[in-house]
Symmetry: C2
C-alpha cells in the first residue's frame, strides 16, 4: 500500500464510502424545454407543501443571557473574591443581556420565520457560515475544498460518519477505551470495531493515550495479526480530552498517526467535542484568582488548543465532528461536521433521506446569540475561555481532594491530570497477581455504599478481554456537580471508599 | 392466514420487527451485590458526562405569541370585517402574550435547565404527558397498552417506523400516490414498496382515495399477482388530507382496511400529519365571516376529525405518526408516535442507538406554550380551529379561482375539494388516446412560463408505470402563499396556463 494524496477524489467517495452512501447520490433528470419556452421572472408557489410563517403561533423570542458560567450561583469556597475579579473586563456583571429573535431584515440574524420553517438539511446559512469562519480561525484545514454541514449534535455527526464509511463487514479502528455509544453506531451498519491499545503507563516515558507504535505494528502486520479481517477503512479517535482517559494527543502524535493513514490509506474520524475545553495543569484551587489565568484569544489558539487533524490533512481524509453541547447546551442537539466537500455532499444526501435537518429553534438561538451577544468567532472563543477557567477550577478541586487524601498518599491511587475536557481517570493500584476485575467489582459496591457515582474503565472498552489489563481505572467527571462543595464532597467520598477498601484487604 | 388478536405480543416485535430492531433490545446485566451492601441514600454524581446547567449561557427565554394566525398581516380582500369578528371570544387581539421559560419549580413547565440538558430519548416528560392526554381526548386507542414517544418530526417518525418493521427484501404496501420521501426511507432499509390503487374517479360512485376492493383482491391473490414477493408486512397510509390527493378515508373505509390487516396480519403505519386540519366543503370565500363556522371543540372532535385507525385497533398493529410541523412550526423538528408499548420500547432503543433525542429547545417551546398560553389539550384544539378557518378560507380562494375560470367552465379541469390538509388535486381532462404524460410535460413548461409552481402527480408515484393512467393531475397547495392576493393570483396563472394550452391544441 502506498501514499495516496487524492484520497477523497479517488477513494473516499467512490471506493471507501459505503455502498449505502454511494447509492444515495441522486441524479436530477434534465429535460428539453419546448421551443420558445421562457420561465416567468416572478413565479408564485402552489407546489411547496409548507405552511406560511403566518400560521406559526410565535411572533418573536427573547433569549436572556448570562455573562459568564454560574453567574447566579458561583460559589468560591476558599476566598471571598468577588465575581468582578474573575472577569475584570466586564463593566457590569449583573446587567441583563437579551437577544431578540423576530422577523427582521438583517443578514447576520436568523429571521424567526426562516428558523421556524422547513430548513436546508445542510443547516441555516448564517450558522453554516459561522462554523466555516470558526474552523478557518482555529483549525484551518490543509486541503482546499473543505465544507461544513450542521448536525443534530455530535451523536448525529458520528452516526453520519459511520454510515458514510462502513458497510457490513467493514473494519474500523477504535481506541480501546472510547465513547462507547459509537460502538452501537458501528454495529448498526454492520461494521467491525478493532481496538487500538492506549498507553496508560506514566512510567513508560512515552506520551499517554493512543499507542502509535502499537498502531503502526498492527497495520504493518494486519494479515497475520487479524487473519480473515479486511483492512481497516477508518480510525475513530477522540484526540483531545480523550473520553474516558482525559489525555490529549500532541501535534507530533497526530502527524505520526496521519502519516500512517496516508501510508495505509484509511480515513480518520476525529471526534473533537472537548478540544476547546483545554484545562490548566493542576494547581492548588486557591490560586484560581490570578488574573493571568485568563488567556487572550490569540494565545489560546496558538498555544493551548491542539490543532485538529484537519490542519495536517493534505488529502481530505479527515472527518471532524464538533458539537455545541459542551460549549453551549446539550439540549440544543446541535453540532457540525467539517470534511471534504465531496464528503459533506454525501452526508447531506444522508440527511436528506434519513435524519432531515437539525432543529431550527436550536439553530436560531445559537446563531443569534453568537452573532449578537458574543459578537462572532472571537467573542465565542472568549465565552469558551470563561468555561475553561470554571472547568479548570472544578478539575483542580477534584484533583486536590485526591492528592490530599490518605488513599493517594498511601499509593492506592494514580491520576492522569487531564489536559482538556471533562474527565479525570483515576487508577487503582493493585498488586500483580490480584484478580483486578473481581476486586474492582467489589469496589464498585463500595462507591455505591459511600454514595459516589463513577464509571468503571472496563465499561468503556471496545473489547473487555483485550483491555482487561489496563482497565483498573475509573472515569470521574467534575462537569455535572451543582457547585464546588458537591465536587469536594463527591471527591472525598471517592477517596474514602478506596481507602476503606484497601484497609479491609480489598474486601467489601 | 387468520385473524390474530395478539399481533403485537406474538408478532410485531418477535416476528414482524426487523432483525435490526430485535437486535437492539438490550439486556441489563445484573450482578450479585456483596453481603452487607447498602446503597447510599443520597449519592453524588462523578459519572455522568454532562455539563451542569450553570455552564449554559442562557438564563431564560421569553416566547412572544400571537392570538391567531396572520395576526399582523391578515388581509381580507372581500369585506372590511375586522379581525375581532373572526374571533369574537378574544377580548383584545393586539395584546402581547409572553410565555417565559426559566428555572422554576412548576411541574407543568419544562424547566429551562432541564430542556437545555441531555434529555430522555422518549422525550421530555411533560410533553410526553401532553401527547398522551391529547390522544386520549381525540383518538383513544381501542387497545390498552399504548404509549407515545417524541420524535424529531414526522419524517423522523416515518424513518423509525420503516426501521422498526422492514429488513432487506420485506414488502410494504403504499398508496400509489404518496409522500415520496418515505419511499427513500423504505429503500434505505432495503424494503420493497408495492403500490395500492387509489380511486380518483368521481363518477365511480365509490369513495375517493384508497381502493379497498383493489387492496382486498391483491391480498387474496398475492402469490399470483406478485409472484416471488414475500407477503407484505405493513401498509403505509395517509388517511386524512391525503398527500397529494387531498381525500380523507371515512371511518367505514378504515374499518374495512383494518379488517384486512387483521385477516392478513400486517401492520398499519398511519401517517396523519393533516388529520386535525379539517377543511369545510367549498363555499364562496365571501361567506367566511359567518360566526357559526367556528366550531366548538367537542363538535370538532365528534363530527369533523375522522377517528384514527388507533380507535378501531384491538390488537395494537397501528403505528400512528404525528407532527407539530403543520400545527405549530416545521422548524421545530418535533412530532410523536403513538403505538403499542412494546413498539415504542423498540423505537426508543432505535433512538438511543441512532437518532438520539429531539431538540430540547423545541420541546420546551411547544410544551410551555401549550401548557401556559393555550391551556392544555382543549386550548391546543382551539388554536387548531383557528388554523382550520384560515386554511379553509385559503382553500376556498384557490378553488373559487378555478371554478370561475374559463378552463373549468370549458371542461378542461376537474377538482377534488379536499376535506383536510393543504392540498388540492386538479385533474387535466385529456381525451382518450392522447399521450397524457407527453402532453403534461409540455403543460409543465406552460406553468413555468405563466409563473406558477405546481407538483405534477406523476412525481408522487410509487411506480410511474403502475399509475400512469391516473397521473393526469397536479397537486396545488394554498399553504405557503404570503397572503390572499398571492393565492388568487397564483390560481389565476394556473387556470390561464391551462386555458392557453388547450386553446393552442395541447401544444406549447
Amino acid at each position: 500500500m502506498t501514499a495516496n494524496n487524492s484520497f477523497v477524489h479517488e477513494n473516499l467517495i467512490s471506493k471507501r464510502a459505503s455502498k449505502r452512501s454511494n447509492a444515495r447520490t441522486s441524479s436530477a433528470a434534465t429535460e428539453d424545454a419546448p421551443a420558445g419556452f421562457e420561465p416567468h421572472p416572478k413565479p408564485l408557489a402552489l407546489h411547496r407543501g409548507m405552511p406560511n410563517a403566518g400560521f406559526f403561533p410565535i411572533d418573536s423570542i427573547d433569549v436572556n443571557l448570562v455573562e459568564y458560567p454560574f453567574q447566579k450561583s458561583l460559589s468560591i469556597p476558599i476566598t471571598n473574591a468577588s465575581v468582578e475579579s474573575f472577569f475584570p473586563d466586564e463593566k457590569s456583571v449583573s446587567r441583563t443581556n437579551t437577544v431578540t429573535i423576530k422577523k427582521v431584515d438583517d443578514p447576520e440574524y436568523v429571521d424567526i420565520s426562516t428558523a421556524l420553517q422547513y430548513g436546508s438539511v445542510a443547516g441555516i446559512p448564517q450558522l453554516l457560515q459561522f462554523t466555516q469562519e470558526f474552523i478557518n480561525r482555529v483549525h484551518k484545514p490543509a486541503f482546499e475544498d473543505w465544507d461544513t454541514v450542521i448536525t443534530s449534535g455530535a451523536g448525529d455527526g458520528l452516526i453520519k460518519a459511520a454510515n458514510l464509511l462502513l458497510d457490513a463487514g467493514d473494519v474500523i479502528l477504535v481506541e480501546e477505551f472510547t465513547f462507547t455509544p459509537f460502538l452501537e453506531n458501528i454495529e448498526d451498519v454492520g461494521g467491525i470495531p478493532v481496538p487500538i491499545k492506549l498507553n496508560l503507563d506514566k512510567d513508560s516515558g512515552k506520551e499517554l493515550g493512543l499507542d502509535v507504535e502499537y498502531l503502526s505494528d498492527l497495520l504493518a502486520n494486519w494479515e497475520t495479526e487479524k487473519p480473515g479481517l479486511p483492512f481497516p477503512k477508518a480510525l475513530y479517535v477522540i484526540p483531545s480530552g480523550q473520553n474516558p482517559i482525559g489525555t490529549t494527543q500532541s501535534i507530533e502524535t497526530r502527524k505520526k498517526v496521519y502519516k500512517l493513514a496516508e501510508k495505509y490509506d484509511f480515513a480518520i474520524i476525529e471526534d473533537d467535542v472537548y478540544g476547546y475545553l483545554t484545562l490548566r495543569p493542576f494547581q492548588k484551587p486557591a490560586s484560581i484568582f490570578k488574573l493571568n489565568d485568563f488567556l487572550e484569544v490569540d494565545d489560546f489558539i496558538a498555544n493551548h488548543i491542539t490543532p485538529s487533524y484537519l490542519t495536517i490533512d493534505k488529502s481530505g481524509r479527515v472527518i471532524r465532528i464538533e458539537t455545541f453541547s459542551k460549549l453551549f447546551a446539550p439540549g440544543l442537539r446541535l453540532g457540525f461536521i467539517v470534511a471534504h466537500k465531496r464528503v459533506t455532499t454525501v452526508i447531506k444526501n444522508y440527511a436528506s433521506d434519513v435524519t432531515r435537518s437539525a432543529s431550527g429553534t436550536s439553530q436560531l438561538i445559537v446563531q443569534n446569540v453568537i452573532a449578537k451577544k458574543f459578537g462572532g468567532v472571537d467573542g465565542w472563543l472568549q465565552w469558551i475561555l470563561k468555561l475553561r477557567i470554571t472547568y479548570s477550577h472544578r478539575k483542580d478541586l477534584l484533583l486536590n481532594q485526591i492528592f490530599e487524601s490518605a488513599a493517594y498518599k498511601k499509593g492506592f491511587l494514580e491520576v492522569i491530570d487531564p489536559t482538556a475536557g471533562m474527565f479525570v481517570s483515576v487508577f487503582i493500584k493493585l498488586a500483580k497477581g490480584v484478580d483486578a476485575q473481581a476486586k474492582l467489582k467489589l469496589l464498585n459496591y463500595k462507591f455505591k455504599n459511600f454514595g459516589v457515582g463513577v464509571i468503571p474503565g472496563i465499561t468503556r472498552t471496545v473489547d473487555k478481554k483485550f483491555s482487561e489489563d489496563r482497565s483498573n481505572f475509573y472515569r470521574l467527571t467534575f462537569a455535572p456537580a451543582e457547585d464546588d462543595n458537591e465536587i469536594t464532597e463527591a471527591g472525598q467520598r471517592f477517596v474514602e471508599a478506596v481507602e476503606d477498601f484497601f484497609e479491609k484487604g480489598l474486601e467489601y
